[in-house]
């Protein structure tokens, strides 16, 4: 299988989808390939902070200026992905007045609007702030949903003619080295489609496709170094992991930052129904395989309870790790990953390595993804000889054309108040198109208030990939972590998809949920996991499913018939919920490659 494209973008995170949208809007023929789901890499594993720039206002003012500019743009073009929470830099007694003043001045120098609050005023805004917080600076931080944002960028790109392929891994880059020269050119890539092309269907045949491209853009983030290797160029990305823990409810409705020089575990971001504690910063060798350690989680709580003591008691849903694609130009020699710049670098491999047709993008921050994409697209257009202006700062993303009409959602679609409100916030301008169904529209995910209509809409794009459905809708991301709804979501795949596909999709979703959940299992969430296990074992026999084994199910074992009748043999006569001690849920086995 072969195809041709103008620009081949590798990586379906914020950078990749941003570039795909930008180029597509300029009329470039774009193909984007991503080895997992959209946001599979680092984008889906961040704390969802829309920076005001306040965090960089002392250490990195150019980044701060860029942040506040992009912050304003995203509020506009991505309104259905952004919640304007506002943010606080709070100062505890042991934090210095000097730094507080430096931060304040820095913000002002960078054009970041500020307001200084007393401790009491800050607590009036956020009652759960610690009693001894003595001052705070209010800044326009916000919360942003990275999943929704990437999906919207991809959708916009598709609307402008781009082809987006997920579960499509680059297995090789095609490098053309004309004999007798020392020039080299990247002319395309060999792609392995895990389950065929187009939207995903579990179990479809793997396909290999050769995509020839006029220009290849390496937007693989922390994986950019590995791709560079395929083209024989050195891209020295330093992956640095950071841990984040998700609480069950929002302890705060404002982003809380600690007002001190950048350190670990100093931010709490309200995100949808939850709050996210972040984060740590530690170099790792491999972006895919690194230790996820309890001490990192402990550090988050230890530090952040100083700011918001109620976190001590908070129920936690899961902990996840992300790897930053840090990059520093050769020779900088920074020791601590925390000191490596968050600025981004466009590596033009023609200039740098004598390899034409290939550009890598490394470093950077989520908040400024659009500006990065614009700069890359300018560069690529220049190489491709396309002259068109960037329009991504002005044209709203699909879903953000107008705010979701809440009253409509409630009255017209017969949804209860908080469900209608949540749905309309997620769907934005697509509310009517998605919820305006004549079919019964029950709530499928109760925790996050996701209805059947919204799930069906997501399935249209995501295929049988329930993790993709999840990131589009938030279904199974609430307190029960899919305990009550994962099978309902799977049921939504039927009858379009066959039973083996539905089972595979269900299993994959459960494993992905478990991957993050197992790091936060104490107190309430441990009890939830125990209940989920019991539910799944007793209602779906998930701990020992005869339908999954090669043996014929011993149906007699389920119905012993009249007294005296003997059915089955040995331990198979046990009730269906008699799970094996070595059940499928041992943490070590579950290094599932989910998102």
């Amino acid at each position: 299988m072969e195809s041709n494209t103008g620009a081949l973008v590798i990586g379906g995170g914020s950078t990749g989808t941003g570039v795909a949208r930008d180029l597509a809007m300029r009329g470039v023929d774009v193909t984007l390939v991503e080895k997992g789901n959209l946001t599979h890499g680092t984008t889906g594993r961040m704390h969802g902070l829309l920076h005001s720039g306040g965090r960089y206002a002392v250490s990195d003012q150019p980044s701060a200026v860029e942040c506040i500019e992009e912050n304003r743009i995203l509020r506009d073009i991505a309104s259905h992905c952004v919640e304007e929470t506002g943010g606080l830099f709070v100062k505890r007694p042991e934090d210095t007045e000097e730094y507080f003043e430096t931060k304040l001045e820095g913000c002002q120098e960078c054009g970041i609007p500020t307001e200084v609050l007393s401790g009491a005023e800050a607590r009036e805004m956020e009652p759960y702030l610690a009693q001894d917080v003595d001052r705070a600076i209010r800044v326009p931080d916000g919360a942003i949903d990275p999943f929704r944002l990437c999906v919207a960028n991809a959708e916009s790109a598709t609307n402008h003619g781009a082809r987006i392929e997920t579960h499509a891994e680059v297995v090789d880059l095609l490098v053309d080295e004309p004999a007798g020269t020392d020039e080299a050119a990247v002319v395309g890539a060999e792609i392995r489609h895990e389950s065929g092309t187009g939207s995903r269907t579990h179990g479809e045949q793997t396909e290999i496709e050769t995509i020839y491209a006029d220009h290849v853009i390496n937007a693989a983030g922390a994986w950019a170094g590995q791709l560079g290797d395929l083209a024989g160029v050195d891209v020295a990305v330093q992956p640095a992991k950071g841990a984040m823990t998700v609480t069950n409810v929002r302890q705060v409705d404002t982003v809380i930052n600690r007002c001190r020089p950048k350190g670990d575990a100093d931010i709490l971001v309200p995100h949808e129904t939850t709050a996210i504690l972040g984060t740590t910063d530690e170099a790792v060798d491999d972006p895919e395989h690194y230790p996820e350690e309890q001490r990192e989680v402990d550090l988050l709580f230890e530090q952040l309870t100083d700011l918001v003591p109620i976190l001590e008691d908070a129920r936690t849903l899961r902990t996840f790790w992300g790897v930053r694609p840090l990059y520093e130009p050769p020779g900088t020699g920074t020791q601590d990953t925390g000191d490596i710049t968050r600025d981004f670098f466009l590596l033009d491999h023609a200039d740098r390595d004598g390899v034409t047709g290939f550009t890598s993008i490394v470093g950077g921050k989520f908040t400024t993804y659009r500006a990065m994409a614009e700069e890359i697209s300018d560069h690529v257009c220049d190489r491709l000889g396309v002259s068109a202006d960037c329009r991504t700062a002005d044209v709203p993303l699909p879903g953000s054309e107008s705010p979701g009409r809440l009253d409509d959602a409630m009255d017209r679609y017969g949804l209860r108040s908080p469900i209608a409100r949540r749905s309309a916030e997620r769907l934005g301008s697509k509310t009517e198109a998605v919820l305006g169904t004549d079919e019964p529209n029950p709530v499928v995910c109760e925790c996050e208030a996701v209805t059947r209509a919204e799930l069906q809409n997501a399935i249209e794009s995501a295929g049988s990939d329930l993790n993709d459905v999840r990131i589009r809708t938030r279904a199974s991301m609430g307190n029960c972590q899919g305990g009550i709804c994962a099978h309902r979501m799977a049921a939504e795949l039927s009858p379009e998809y066959e039973s083996p596909t539905v089972r595979a999709a269900h299993d994959e979703l459960l494993q992905e949920r478990w991957k993050g959940e197992r790091h936060a299992l104490w107190g309430e969430q441990l009890a939830q996991a125990a209940l989920n296990y019991a539910l799944h074992a007793t209602t779906m026999n998930l701990d020992r499913d005869p339908a999954r084994t090669d043996d014929d199910p011993e149906y007699a074992a389920f119905d012993t018939g009249p007294p005296g009748h003997t059915a089955g043999t040995g331990d198979t006569t046990a009730a269906a919920d008699g799970g094996r001690p070595t059940g499928s849920r041992s943490a070590d086995e579950e290094g599932h490659d989910g998102d």
């Binding site: 607590r123 109620i310 129920r315 208030a449």
Partner: protein, 512 residues
């Protein structure tokens, strides 16, 4: 007259000491059972697991976190010594309808036991049930706009969900708070719905008026035409007959007899009679006084207002707070003088014990909550009631009928569902039949609303059936509105457990 002039002295200094009562005296073992499951979870395991149980979390989230010894989280001071010094949110909200109960959602595992125990959800498919009304809705809520679903109006406030929840989600607190928000923010003050809520929840005012001319009022309210009009205009059902006002209120009787007839330094109870026993069933109040005096108690009847139960149930939290302030102030002053508080209505005792601390931050609330008892419960704790009843001279066989007993939901929530059966068992010649654990369906003012009448009767069906099946043809319960429902559904005469005690132990009271 009773000898306890209202003492408005500032009791706040004393409040601190009250937390000791809770763990200390044996008396409290029999009380505050309603929330006692929180203790089970508070002994957590390893240090890393020591995240505080959620019932305390919700008190952190609530306005009363700064009051020690919160009986609402019966784990008590012992199990979370750190809650006061470690974390103390400032009271920033103007009133409790604004409190943030989202953290209360942490203890919900969505097991749905509350939904399966909800009598309204059982008969009304449109009602989403307590799990949605409580933890789900709170978790999904945002702080910046009213968005309480109007199905909150269908909750009858029977509080069975509290009793059902295995993990102490503060369900009724969530419902009460949500209902308060709904009425405050989403209901027009000019709507019939609001007016009806106002009228029904302020029954005491109506009662005071009605009792001025009880016979006239009873005649007018008994008139079918009048009831037809109230149904059509106010949405108060014309299916029910308005309770009759007594020709003499309890308080007027109390004054007339010269107040307390027994004086005692160490056996003192302050009687919270509430509106209904005062205006409609003074025989219950009289029974309480005579029974307690027969045991040598000095009874005080301080100034008081409605317990607030109908106000919580109608989302009138401001009205409820005003009433609660009077009650807490008056009764707290008497507790200072060695009195314990006894109630004859189980919804009143529920309000003083659980809802006040959950919803309000009034000086003395915690102490009143910790020292309030159902009257029969109190006697069972302090007296050998079974022995006394067994030895009673009264020949009950001749005059007392067998009884079909219904335990009100609010008695059930206080762990008192069995006590009347045990009391009845001790009375020779009287059989007390349990008519099952279903809800009567009326839930105070709920069943009085035209729109809820059918639901109310559908819920009551099971109880009616059981009453019909029982040999007894007289009903017994401790809740006045359950009594109305029992009477309405079966035509039986319905009496109060205190009246049974009075007939057996004192030999006085209304004829049976």
């Amino acid at each position: 007259m009773f000898g306890h002039a209202p003492d408005d002295g500032d009791e706040s200094d004393e409040t601190e000491s009250s937390c000791g009562c809770e763990a200390g005296s044996g008396e409290s073992d029999g009380s505050a059972e309603s929330r006692s499951t929180s203790e089970v979870r508070s002994d957590g395991g390893e240090p890393s697991d020591e995240r505080r149980p959620t019932s305390e979390l919700c008190s952190d989230g609530g306005i009363d976190a700064d009051v020690p010894g919160d009986p609402g989280s019966a784990g008590g001071a012992g199990s979370h010594p750190s809650s006061d010094d470690e974390f103390e949110p400032v009271q920033v909200f103007p009133d409790s309808t604004e409190q943030d109960l989202r953290p209360g959602a942490d203890s919900c595992y969505k097991c749905s036991t509350c939904d399966t125990n909800c009598p309204v959800a059982e008969v009304d498919d449109e009602f989403p049930g307590p799990k949605f009304q409580g933890p789900e809705q709170w978790r999904l809520s945002r702080d910046d706009a009213p968005e309480i679903d109007d199905s909150i109006d269908k909750c009858s406030n029977c509080m069975r969900c509290d009793h059902a929840c295995p993990t102490d989600v503060p369900l009724s607190q969530m419902h009460n708070t949500a209902r308060g928000r709904y009425v405050d923010d989403q209901l027009s003050k000019l709507s019939i719905q609001y007016l009806r809520k106002k009228i029904l929840s302020n029954y005491g005012r109506l009662g005071r008026l009605g009792s001025l001319f009880p016979r006239t009022t009873n005649f007018v309210m008994g008139n079918r035409a009048v009831r037809w009009i109230t149904d059509r205009t106010l949405g108060i059902t014309d299916e029910r007959e308005f309770p009759e006002f007594a020709t003499q209120t309890f308080r007027s009787w109390w004054d007339e007899r010269g107040g307390a007839q027994v004086q005692s330094e160490d056996r003192r109870v302050a009687y919270f009679h509430g509106d209904y026993a005062n205006y409609n069933t003074p025989e219950v109040g009289k029974a309480l006084v005579r029974v307690f005096e027969s045991f040598g108690y000095e009874v005080a009847v301080p100034r008081q207002r409605c317990s607030g139960t109908p106000m919580f149930a109608n989302g009138m939290l401001d009205d409820a707070r005003r009433a609660a302030t009077v009650n807490v102030t008056e009764f707290d002053a008497l507790i200072e003088e060695g009195y314990d508080v006894v109630c004859s209505c189980t919804s009143c005792s529920m309000a003083l014990r659980q809802e006040y601390p959950e919803l309000f931050d009034i000086d003395g609330t915690e102490r009143v909550a910790a020292n309030t008892y159902d009257a029969v419960e109190y006697l069972r704790i302090h007296e050998d009631l079974r022995e006394e009843l067994a030895d009673a001279e009264t020949d009950a066989d001749d005059e007392l009928p067998d009884l079909a007993y219904h335990a009100p939901c609010h008695a059930r929530n206080q762990g008192l569902a069995e006590q009347a059966l045990e009391v009845g068992d001790a009375v020779e010649g009287v059989d007390v039949d349990d008519v099952g654990d279903s809800c009567s369906g009326i839930s105070g003012t709920y069943g009085w609303k035209s729109k809820h009448y059918d639901t109310s009767m559908a819920i009551g069906d099971e109880m009616f059936d059981h009453m019909e099946d029982s040999e007894a043809e007289t009903g017994m319960t401790e809740c006045p509105t359950c009594a109305m429902q029992m009477e309405h559904g079966t035509g039986y005469d319905v009496r109060h457990t205190l009246e049974l005690l009075e007939a057996t132990l004192v030999g006085e009271g209304e004829a049976w």
